[in-house]
Every structure is written in C-alpha cells, then in structure tokens.
Amino acid sequence: MSRREGSLDPQADSSVSPLPHLEAKIQQTHSLARLLTKYAEQLLQEYVQHQGDPFGLPGFSPPRPPVAGLSAPAPGHAGLPVPERLRLDAAALAVLPPLLDVVRRRQAELNPRAARLLRRLEDAARQARALGAAVEAVLGALGAETGGPRAEPATAAAAAIAAAATGGVFPAKVLGLRVCSLYLEWVSRTEADLGQLAPGGPA
C-alpha cells in the first residue's frame, strides 16, 4: 500500500505523509490556528486596556479563578501523542465559545462604547467554534476518536443565572481576563499541536 493510500494509523509515526487532501486540511487548519493565535493576542491586549490599571500593567498577577470544564493546557500536554493532544484541543475549543459570550455580555455593560473589544469577543467565540470543528475534522480524517465528556451549555447557563446576584465588577473583570487568557493558551497550543502534523513539521 502506498503511503498516500488507505486510512492512517493514528499511532503511526507523525513523519509519515498523510493523504493529500488530509495534508491540505491539516495545513489549512494549522494556518487558521496561527491566525487565531494572533487574534487572541490582540483580544487580550484590547481587553486589559479597557479594564483599566492594574490590568495590563507589567507584573500584574491577577487571581486565576477556576473555570468549570476548562483548565489551562497541562504541563504534560506536549508529551502526549498528537491525536490525544488534538482531542484535548478540540474539547477546550468547544467549551470556550459560551464562556467568551458571557464575557462579551458583561463587557457590553461595563464598556458599552468599546465596540472593537465587543466585536473581537464575538469573533473569538465564532472562531473558536470554527477551529474546534476543523480540529475534529482532522481527527476524524486521521481515524482517531473525537470528543469526551464536556460541560453541558444548559448547565453552565443555569449556573450563570444562579450566580447573577452576587457577581461584582472586579471579579467579572478578572474572570474575563482568565477566559481571554485561556483562549489564547488553547489556540496557541492547537497551533503547536497541528504543527506537529503539518508537512515539514517536527517528527
């Protein structure tokens, strides 16, 4: 069997060249992840500007509140097999859009004139969804299983209503910073993981 025919063994060495269409898909998704990483950096900068100092000041060490269903990439993430990494990337990217929506709605109240920030948050939610879907498509083409248990959006929404009465502005700013930071961490992590699969990537 030619290396370019048949399905790929997800356990195979990543230096084996995938099918041409898969190769193109990986490259395309990798390019998307690279672009979204830049956008995520810009979003973070825009976000801290609008919250005021000390947000954005050098040395600002904000609290890192836990976010249900989403944590930062684990230190051992890079040591996992590529398909497993991509599964985790896709899972995180699927959880991010509703979180970004929450942040956008809160910022619409706190910074109603920050049109560019609000637009970036809206775009980020949409782009995270798109990148997650693209990563899942790559996983599917690789023959790898996708998905795993994720937080149900309905559960998160119900929880949001329960928390409505007690959320202060400063904690909301901190939470938004955390979500934007996680978004950046995960898209850049996805970019790196896809880079392992892209032609010319490291073995």
């Binding site: 005021g52 100092d53 060490s61 929450v102 709605r105 910074n111 998160a156 007690t166 959320g167 400063f170």
Partner: protein
C-alpha cells in the same frame, strides 16, 4: 459599616449585575492568586459616587483562613499604591481606607480598588464609579430627508463629560395623541444623533426630546415641537457644471439640476452658490439665486481656477410657510476663467444670462479654423469648449510649474471634480 458618600441616586442607580456562570467562577468578590478560594471581601462593592465626595472602605480577611490578618495588607487604586496614612486597621482582620475628594473615574468600567496581601497578591477588588449626573441635553435639531425619515442630533449637557457611561435616548410622540416612542438607530450622524427611518406622519406636529441617564441620575431636554414638512431637506443639486462664458475673462457660468426627489411635492426651491479661488479657504456666497437652475458668476479674476458648490433649500412644501433645511453642498466643481494681462476686479455675483462672448481677432480666426476643420477633417467634436478646456489645462500647468519653483507644493481642494481634458483635439 463604613460607607462612601454617594449622591442620592447613586445606590438606586445601580443595576443588578448580569449573568455569570456559577461553575465558572468560584470566587465571589475575593479572588486570590492561584487557589481561587475566598480570602477577603471589600465593602462597599462597586459604589457609585459624586466627584469630590469621600469614600470609606474596608477589606476584611476571612477569619477561617489560616494566618488571616489585616497586618501588612495594603490598597491600590488603578494600580497605584495608596499612601499608608490613608489606611488603618480597624481590627485584626479588617483594614479600612479613607479617600477624600474623589476625581472622576478614569475608565468607564470603573476604577479598580484592590486589597493586597503583604506579598502583593490580590485578596479582593471593588470598582468605583465616580462621576456626575447628566445635565439636560439641549440644542436638538432635526431634519427629514425627502419627507421619508427624521434624523435628530443634540448636544449633551456639560459637554457630555460625566465620567460615567451616560445613555441618551431620543423620544418622540405625536403631539395630540399617541404613545411615547423611542428612537433605535443611534450615532448615525455623530455620537449624539438618532435616525427614525419610517412611519412618520405629515401635517401634524411631533414632540421630540432626549433623556440622559447614568448611575447618578437622569435629565431630560426641553421638548422640541415640529412638523415634518417644516424640516425637509434634500440631496444636493445634481449635475453641477461650471463653464466659461466664451472669452469673458471675469465670468463663469454655473448650471445645475433641481433635486429630483421632491419634484412631486409642490415645493419651491431656493439655491445658494459658493465659490472660492483654488488655493484659498475663503468661500464667497451668492444667495440671491432664488428658483433658477443657472447663474453666471461675474467679477472674477482672469486666468484663475475656481471651485464652485451649490445647495438647495426646498421651502414651501405642500404649502408650508416655513423654510426647509439647506441641503449639503454639492461636490466641488472646478473651472478656470480665461487668462488676461489685466487684473480683474475680484468680486462676484450672479449676472443675468444672455450676453455673447467677446470675439477678438484670435477667436475669430480660431472659429474659422474650427469651422473649416469640421468640414474637411474627421474631428467632429471640436468646439470652443474643448479649446477652453485646453486653455484651462495650460494655465493650470503653468501655475503649477511656477508654484513648484517658489515653494515646492501645490495645495489642491480635496474631492474637487475637474473638467477632463483630452490628450489631443
């Protein structure tokens, strides 16, 4: 419990905070670096205060946290550490802060007042909203484009600087009956404007006003009463053409078309023309043009490029007694007067049409030549107009060369429409 000194509307102006996922955020009012567990709380949370007022705040460390004490705690406001003399320990677990004569908030999302542990980690935060209640908006002006819509703009009171997000809402209703309506399309012609696109009645007055609201209160403008028919404007007159009047060195002819949109609305139109020399910013206005769609500018400088604009006022629509609203000026159109050695008088006014262009010996000979060419050659489009365009282009080129020699730049009016000159006749 120590509290600030908010204005009377401050507390009532606060809105309930919006949704935040409970599962997403386990630290309520007291984020802590790393762990997310509640360690302290600031009171008051997110107060709204008048500029110049004082604030008494406390940072209380939770007693069940090991080693929880107010010893060593400190405050920052917008990232700047506050002087220790502003703080004092109320008890072992509470650090108080006294701020006086507060300035307006630095950002709309609120000033960040943060309580820090000795090691600098953030224990809790609260956002201060310091500003002014809105003042009465004023100077409402409205206009209707071709009687199909209504656009209004206004000036915010106190030049708009309240240091707090202030919401402006344009309201309107039919004077004699009907409910209040709220305009929905804002910022259409500037930050304080709104556009009502449809469902407007004619021949009946509207009442229009603006309400301004922020965390510290609200204010309402005076009511403006108007009939749509009295505030109608149009697009500028289309197809404005400026041309020479034969060889007359001090005159230009201006022609335009009346705006087509209102041709069925039984209106009278009056026009204004303004013109200026190419490298000048001073416009001269001719406003006794009445209902004509042409005018001759006289008393101009010979050999000079002029920019000309026209605007229209559709008054007397459907018998309304009031004047309408002047349209925007048309795009600038340029043309040049013929060159002459003698200086012109420099003034300008509309002159009646009818006088023939002067015909010196050069022009007579040129006329004969052009006539012969038309008969015996294939240049059927030759005309004095083309000759004039060529002359204007030559003058312009000559002038540009001279200007480059003297100061190296040639200011040009932006958006000016020039007569397009052929490369060759």
């Amino acid at each position: 419990m120590p509290a600030g000194s908010p204005g009377p509307a401050a507390q009532s102006a606060r809105r309930p905070p919006p949704l935040l996922p409970l599962l997403l955020f386990c630290v309520l009012g007291a984020p802590q670096a790393g762990s997310g567990a509640d360690t302290a709380v600031i009171s008051p949370q997110d107060p709204t205060l008048l500029i110049g007022s004082s604030l008494q705040a406390t940072c209380s460390v939770h007693g069940d946290t090991p080693g929880a004490t107010a010893e060593g705690l400190y405050w920052t406001l917008n990232g700047r550490r506050l002087p220790p003399e502003l703080s004092r320990m109320l008890n072992a677990s509470t650090l108080a802060l006294a701020l006086a004569n507060l300035n307006g908030s630095r950002q709309q999302s609120g000033d960040n007042l943060v309580c820090h542990a000795r090691d600098g980690s953030i224990l809790a935060g609260s956002c201060l909203y310091v500003g002014l209640p809105p003042e009465k908006p004023f100077n409402i002006s409205c206009w209707s484009k071709n009687m199909k819509d209504l656009t209004c703009r206004w000036t915010p009171g106190a030049h708009g600087e309240t240091f707090l997000h202030t919401n402006y809402s344009l309201k309107y209703k039919l004077r004699w009956y009907g409910q209040d309506n709220t305009c929905e399309e804002y910022h259409t012609v500037g930050p304080h404007s709104c556009h009502i696109p449809k469902d407007l009645a004619l021949f009946t007055p509207y009442e229009i006003w603006v309400e301004a609201t922020n965390r510290l209160g609200s204010a309402r403008s005076d009511v403006l009463t108007l009939d749509i028919l009295d505030v109608v404007t149009t697009d500028p007159p289309p197809d404005v053409h400026v041309s020479r009047v034969g060889g007359l060195e001090d005159q230009l002819s201006v022609r335009w078309v009346s705006p087509p949109a209102l041709k069925d609305f039984l209106f009278q139109a009056k026009y204004q023309i303004r013109y200026r020399v190419e490298d000048s910013v001073d416009w001269k206005v001719v406003d006794d043009v009445s209902n004509q769609t042409s005018c001759r500018l006289a008393g101009l400088k010979p050999g000079t490029v002029y920019f000309v604009q026209v605007r229209c006022n559709p008054f007397g629509i459907y018998g309304s007694k009031k004047a309408g609203i002047w349209s925007e000026w048309s795009h600038p159109t340029a043309a040049s007067t013929p060159r002459s050695e003698r200086p012109g008088p420099g003034g300008g006014a509309c002159e009646p049409r009818g006088s023939e262009p002067s015909s010196g010996p050069v022009r007579r000979e040129l006329k004969q030549f052009l006539g012969w060419l038309k008969k015996h050659a294939y240049c059927s489009n030759l005309s004095f107009r083309l000759y004039d365009q060529w002359r204007a282009w030559m003058q312009k080129s000559h002038k540009t060369r001279n200007q480059h020699r003297t100061r190296g730049s040639c200011p040009r009016a932006e958006g000016a429409r020039r007569e397009v000159l052929p490369d060759k006749l």
